[in-house]
């Protein structure tokens, strides 16, 4: 019951040997407004391997949630997918019709919503809300009998560390952490290949946060599912993610294994982001990134980060460390050419003109 079956239409373009579970190429998600297209997600590409955990960080409005929603085609008007491809285990999601996409949701790609939010229907018991997801992804004649379904519900609840009697409770009888566990149980009920978690622990206290993340990790490892964790808690990312993507103004500006990105951030924005994390040794000093994210209706010409970029603006703090790269940089490029995301070392992708000298 729980193993997902690939529908006949989907089977055509499935490549079993592909190690990448998620392949996103040149994804563009625009908001169609009177003022013009707001390029919330512009030309984003990355790949995620089976069982890998990816973190996605960025300022508010950088397009991370918009992109996550678009991956499941849950974006709402006026958002439109203006181009690009999304392949889940070889299956091109943007080419599916509505019914095929509906079948794919939960079965192959599931969502864990923001923590402690009203993501459960207030008028039904937890049991019914776990069952309806399973029911609408199983053919009527293959639907197991009631006792077996109930057994599965209990099994799922136990797997997220909840008591069996939670099945008969209503959402308002649960705490924020419990609700989030139920959301985890629902998301994993069909053993998806990919779990999208959009700030799953925001609004939860740190103790519950830790428990939820541990549960998610445990389920993910047991199912060998890939996870895309969206958020802006760098500490959480450092603990949970294998790879980290950094978004700025609709662009993915850096994508690299988590350890490397923390030890040696390549993009000036990432560098600033990591150095802005509070340090127990240095008290009373808050460093941030000067300026505000740009408007996405008319983004700055060239590199979208250049008005705030410490390299472009030749900040003192950055002179020593990036001196060589800075010397070779033609700053005219920064204001005229939008940098491409390039792989400068194995699995180290960065979009900055400093690293483009060879080309």
């Amino acid at each position: 019951m729980t193993t997902a079956e690939v529908s006949p239409t989907a089977a055509v373009n499935v490549d079993i040997h592909s190690e990448n579970v998620l392949e996103v190429e040149n994804l563009k998600v625009y908001y169609d407004t009177d003022a013009g297209h707001v390029k919330a997600v512009d030309d984003v590409s990355f790949t995620l391997k089976r069982g890998e955990r990816m973190g996605l960080v960025g300022e508010s409005g950088s397009g991370k949630t918009t992109m996550a929603m678009a991956l499941m085609r849950l974006h709402k008007p006026p958002a439109i997918i203006a181009g690009g491809t999304v392949r889940l285990d070889g299956l091109s999601l943007l080419d599916l019709n509505e019914e095929e996409m509906r079948q794919t949701r939960l079965r192959d790609i599931a969502l864990v919503p923001q923590g402690a939010m009203n993501s459960l229907n207030p008028v039904y018991r937890v049991r019914d809300q776990i069952i309806d997801g399973i029911k609408h992804h199983t053919d009527n004649d293959k639907m197991p009998n009631k006792a077996m379904v109930n057994e599965r519900v209990i099994e799922l609840l136990n797997s997220v560390g909840l008591d069996s009697n939670v099945a008969d409770m209503y959402p308002h009888e649960l705490s924020g952490g419990m609700k989030q566990r139920v959301a985890l149980a629902i998301a994993t009920s069909l053993r998806p290949k990919m779990i999208l978690a959009d700030e799953p622990t925001s609004a939860l206290d740190v103790v519950v946060q830790r428990q939820i993340m541990l549960t998610l990790e445990q389920l993910q490892q047991e199912m060998q599912a890939s996870v895309l964790l969206v958020g802006h808690d760098m500490g959480l990312m450092a603990q949970f993610a294998d790879v980290l993507g950094v978004m700025y103004a609709g662009h993915l500006v850096e994508f690299a294994p988590i350890k490397e990105i923390f030890e040696d951030p390549k993009h000036p924005y990432t560098k600033k982001l990591i150095s802005s994390l509070p340090d127990i040794e240095v008290k009373g000093q808050f460093t941030g990134i000067d300026g505000l994210p740009p408007t996405l209706v008319v983004p700055p010409p060239g590199c979208r980060f250049h008005p705030r970029c410490p390299i472009y603006n030749n900040d003192e703090d950055f002179r020593g460390e990036f001196a060589d790269l800075r010397n070779g940089l033609n700053t005219d490029l920064c204001t005229t050419v939008d940098p491409h995301l390039n792989e400068i070392e194995t699995r180290r992708w960065v979009a900055c003109h400093m690293y483009e000298r060879g080309s």
Binding site: R102, P113, Q114, M117, N118, P122, V123, D132, H172
Partner: protein
């Protein structure tokens, strides 16, 4: 649901009814008119002369205790009302108010209940669909006639319907609850009689349904907008639920809760809401009776009808309060 809640809610119901009956008792007495005297003077004016009016009024007051102190009358009124004895009508003498109500109330309740339920179901569904399929522009075309109609009073729209479908084109009858002058009627076991009743009820019903539809639709549409924006809606879609399931079990099921409150309140207002419609269509209901009774100072009839209205409203809200936890588990009654 704890018993002490049920008991305190029932107590509140009886207090409401008690206060309502007290108001019902005092209101006609404030007018300072003696209905019998009015009636006799009217007769006298018509007949030219009537002897000993005053003596007749006094004899009547004596017989029915209207010359006693107010508090004594009040106690008697209360004792009567507990036994559901609403007194006698002066203008339909010797009929009791109970008899008059029995003749009319079923007509009103049948018309009012059916139109209310029709308008509620159609309006609610319409409002829900209007929001759910908002990208379908042809649905938006429905909005302006619905909104326009909901701003028109029942009775005015009833007059327009009468003019069009009874006067210009004689499709429906001009007045009444059924055709008069046919031997053996009213006869509820006779199908052609029932058909005749429905034929007579069509225009009054249409005038109510078409006008009140808009209110339900607009209310539901507004609630649906809110519900659509809830997190559980996004989650339902992420769960890969079919559109139909999201619409009924997630959308309508949640958006409908405030509509149900409105429905219960409207249940209590069935009779009063229909008064003018019944007048326009000369419908044999309670409304017509009330409109006749008011200018004639037929106190017992006015008191009786107003009391029944109050009872209906209080009963409807009582049932709603007791039934609400069944539709919405979040509502639980605790002590206090």
């Amino acid at each position: 649901m704890p018993w002490n809640y049920i008991i305190s809610r029932l107590a509140m119901f009886f207090v409401t009814i008690y206060i309502a009956s007290t108001i019902v008792f005092f209101l006609p007495r404030i007018s300072g008119q003696n209905p019998l005297e009015e009636k006799l003077l009217e007769e006298a004016a018509r007949g030219g002369f009537l002897e000993d009016t005053q003596a007749m009024v006094e004899a009547f007051d004596e017989k029915y205790g209207f010359n006693k102190p107010v508090w004594e009358q009040y106690v008697k009124f209360m004792v009567d009302i507990v036994q559901f004895d609403l007194g006698r009508s002066i203008f339909n003498w010797p009929k009791t108010v109970n008899q008059l109500l029995a003749e009319t109330i079923l007509w009103t309740i049948a018309l009012g209940l059916l139109t209310l339920i029709f308008a509620f179901i159609i309006g609610t569904l319409m409002g829900a669909i209007l929001e759910w399929k908002r990208h379908k522009t042809f649905l938006m075309v429905l909005m302006s006639p619905i909104l326009t109609l909901s701003a028109v009073p029942y009775y005015l729209f009833g007059l327009v319907l009468l003019l069009a479908f009874s006067f210009v084109w004689s499709i429906f009858p001009l007045f009444g609850g059924y055709s008069r002058g046919i031997a053996g009627w009213p006869d509820w076991s006779n199908w052609s009689f029932i058909g005749n009743v429905l034929w007579h009820a069509t225009l009054p019903a249409l005038s109510v349904v078409l006008v009140s539809l808009g209110g339900w639709a607009m209310g539901m549409r507004g609630m649906m907008v809110t519900t659509k924006g809830e997190d559980y809606m996004l989650q339902a879609e992420a769960k890969g639920l079919p559109d139909r399931v999201m619409f009924f079990r997630y959308g309508i099921r949640n958006a409908m809760l405030p509509q149900l409150t409105g429905l219960a309140l409207q249940l209590g207002l069935i009779v009063s809401g229909l008064v003018l419609v019944e007048v326009v269509f000369s419908y044999p209901g309670v409304g017509g009776l009330l409109v006749q009774a008011i200018p004639r100072n037929d106190h017992a009839v006015i008191q009786g009808i107003v009391f029944v209205l109050a009872l209906g409203t209080a009963l409807a809200t009582l049932i709603l309060d007791l039934a609400y936890p069944l539709v919405d588990a979040r509502i639980k009654y605790s002590q206090g």
